[in-house]
Amino acid sequence: MFKVEYNRPFNIELLKFTVVMHPFTTLTGLVAPLDRVNVDTDQIIPKQFLKTIERTGLREGLFLDWRHKKDGTPDQELFLNQPRYQGATILLTRDNFGCGSSREHAPWALLDQGFRCLIAPSFADIFYNNCFLNGILPVVLKAEEVQALFQSVRAREGYQLTVDLAPQTVTTPEGTRYSFDVDPFRKDCLLKGLDSIGLSLHHEPAIAAYENRRKAEAPWLFPDL
């Protein structure tokens, strides 16, 4: 149906590693708690907001279905409805955050609301990946560490944490320091705000070589539409 141009002329300008997202180095910010397990991306951003062709303006849909109780009054349990959590940049939550749909609208909505860091005992795979590609740092801490942070956040209004990516630490106002793991490559991209497409395009010769080898090995993979 359509012809494919292999080996099309390569624009040298594209080799420049463009900085497309906000780098993440260190962040000291107010923490908002969301005490639920298995928060799925349908809850983070309901379907009606998926019809957009933009990336911005999604904060109005963030946790929309949890904002009001059945009688229409604001649900005070949700951090968004509590004045003390306004301006939070770190979200503290529970296991398997971001499960379900792959919609990147979920990290876009969190970013639009001002969140740059999420802390949980575990994240769902696709969501975890999507965060890095949008300059959000998802931090995995041990369940008991997350539990301790929940207690502190609830106990003290204005509770802030300092998240430092280079040494991979989360520091509490009391001076307790928690360490977290992050893949070196992702960490580097996030620290510098690198555009991963630009990085991959840098390896165009390797991609072309792979394609040529595969065309001989498995030609049925190549007739294109």
Binding site: D42, N129, D183, I207
Partner: protein
């Protein structure tokens, strides 16, 4: 040479290069695109003045926003219409194959890929959609990605990935005559939990899996993501090759024979090690019904709504309490006493021709209960056409089911097919999340036969002892 799993073989044959920390530039053979997760990716390409590397390796179709009723007047919702139009324009601009809303080949992206032979064993396949795991049924490595990654694949035909771990889910024994792949996967998720497969690719093995048809294997792999695994796979065999032979985009003649010889080498070597192994007995699986707001909240139809107080830990107790409040269910209620308002047969999980044949077999000569509104939404225009040739539409219509046009429909209710607040639905889809099928709507996930029986009786029934 060390024994390898099917996953190892496919992964290793797609490595373009590796970073020192193991981050891999992985080659992607096939890319499926739909209207919801692609506009920002195409926009990104345009802004950076980039072109798709291999537009011919990509196939696009609108499915989430399309109406399932008469399409002659287009899409009523202007926002949905704009998103579908944007996809069409982007495909035209970048030279990507596009099946429009009025093309008989249009349908749910995970139904049309296999149907067209676009999905083949040994491939890496991605789509901006978590249910891309469906294509693993063919012995492909298929997984869902976000929009930034959609843009990455368009621009480079590759993805930056970390090698996942492997999990073997062995299902031995024989499934009850009234149970299907849907019951197997719900039982698996019930066992491993919704995060049990996180960081893993699942290979489903064992006699009960080998006995499944391709449609059954697609249902199984489709819901791998509901168990936390980005991908699920089944080794290709005679079922696979017969399904693919003569599909429009599958290789033909000598090339097909050559491909089959290669595909036969994909199976996991004896002695290969998985990071985790899970065992289930097929004969112990009852027809499954979910009771909560997460697919792992599931029980046999002969079971009861659980009591949160009996949950093993604080976390599950709280989650169950929340779920039961949302679902308006009382602990101890037998599942068969739960009454339904709506029944939805469709979605990328259960809308293929075999699902419809099976559902029709149970619906034949029956009547949908007056209190229930039931509909059947085929997975593609071609599935619809085939079903009509076989007279399945007549069986459904005579029984009182609505017979619709193809699309995602009420699986996620982005089009006009929506549950009203408080409505309770037996659904053959994949997610019972809060509000998934409509704000305040209550979803119970079941197999197509269970959905039919629920529609007829107005409440869940154990189909092993029905009709």
């Amino acid at each position: 040479m060390a024994a390898k799993t099917m996953f190892d073989k496919i992964w290793e044959s797609h490595v373009v290069r590796e970073e020192p920390d193991g981050t891999t530039l992985l080659y992607i053979d096939r890319h499926l695109v739909h209207e919801v997760t692609s506009p920002q990716a195409f926009e990104g390409l345009k802004l950076a003045e980039r072109r798709p590397r291999r537009p011919g390796a990509t196939l696009a179709v609108p499915d989430h926003n399309v109406p399932t009723t008469d399409r002659r007047f287009g899409i009523a919702d202007p926002v949905s219409a704009k998103q579908v139009k944007t996809l069409e324009q982007n495909c035209k601009h970048f030279g990507i194959a596009f099946f429009g809303m009025n093309d008989v080949r249009q349908g749910i992206v995970h139904v049309i890929g296999p149907e067209q032979g676009f999905t083949l064993p040994g491939m890496t396949i991605v789509c901006g959609d978590s249910h891309t795991s469906t294509h693993g049924a063919f012995g492909a490595l298929a997984f869902g990605i976000g929009t930034s990654e959609v843009e990455h694949v368009l621009a480079t035909q590759c993805l930056l990935q970390n090698r996942p771990k492997t999990m073997q889910v062995r299902v031995e024994g024989t499934l009850s005559r009234h149970c299907s792949a849907k019951d197997i996967i719900l039982a698996i998720i019930g066992k491993i939990g919704t995060a049990g497969g996180t960081g893993h690719v699942i290979e489903y093995t064992g006699g009960a899996i080998r006995a499944l048809t391709m449609e059954g294997r697609m249902t199984l792999c489709n819901m791998s993501i509901e168990g936390g695994a980005r991908a699920g796979m089944v080794a290709p065999d005679t079922h696979t090759f017969l399904y693919l032979k003569d599909r429009p985009l599958a290789p033909k003649g000598e090339l097909f024979e050559r491909a089959v010889r290669a595909w036969k080498q994909l199976t996991t070597d004896s002695g290969a090690k998985f990071d985790q192994v899970v065992d289930l007995r097929a004969d112990e699986i009852a027809p499954q019904v979910t009771w909560g707001t997460s697919p792992g909240m599931v029980t046999g139809v002969n079971g009861k709504v659980p009591d949160p107080r009996e949950m093993p830990d604080e976390k599950s107790r709280k989650a169950a309490e929340h779920a039961l409040e949302y679902m308006a269910l009382t602990p101890g209620t037998p599942m068969t006493k739960i009454k339904l308002d709506r029944v939805f047969i469709g979605s990328c999980t259960n809308s293929r021709i075999e699902d419809l044949r099976l559902a029709a077999q149970y619906a034949k000569g029956k009547k949908v209960a007056p209190s229930v509104h039931a509909m059947v939404v085929p997975g593609s225009g071609l599935v619809k056409q085939q079903a009509e040739q076989e007279g399945l539409d007549q069986i459904f219509k005579e029984a009182g089911f609505e017979w619709r046009e193809a699309g995602c429909s009420m699986c996620l209710a982005m089009n006009a097919d929506v549950l009203q607040p408080g409505e309770r639905c037996a659904s053959t889809s994949n997610r019972n999340f809060e509000g998934r099928q409509g704000k305040g709507g209550r979803t119970h996930l079941v197999s197509p036969p269970m959905a039919v029986a629920a529609a007829v009786e107005g409440h869940f029934v154990d189909i092993r002892h029905w009709g």
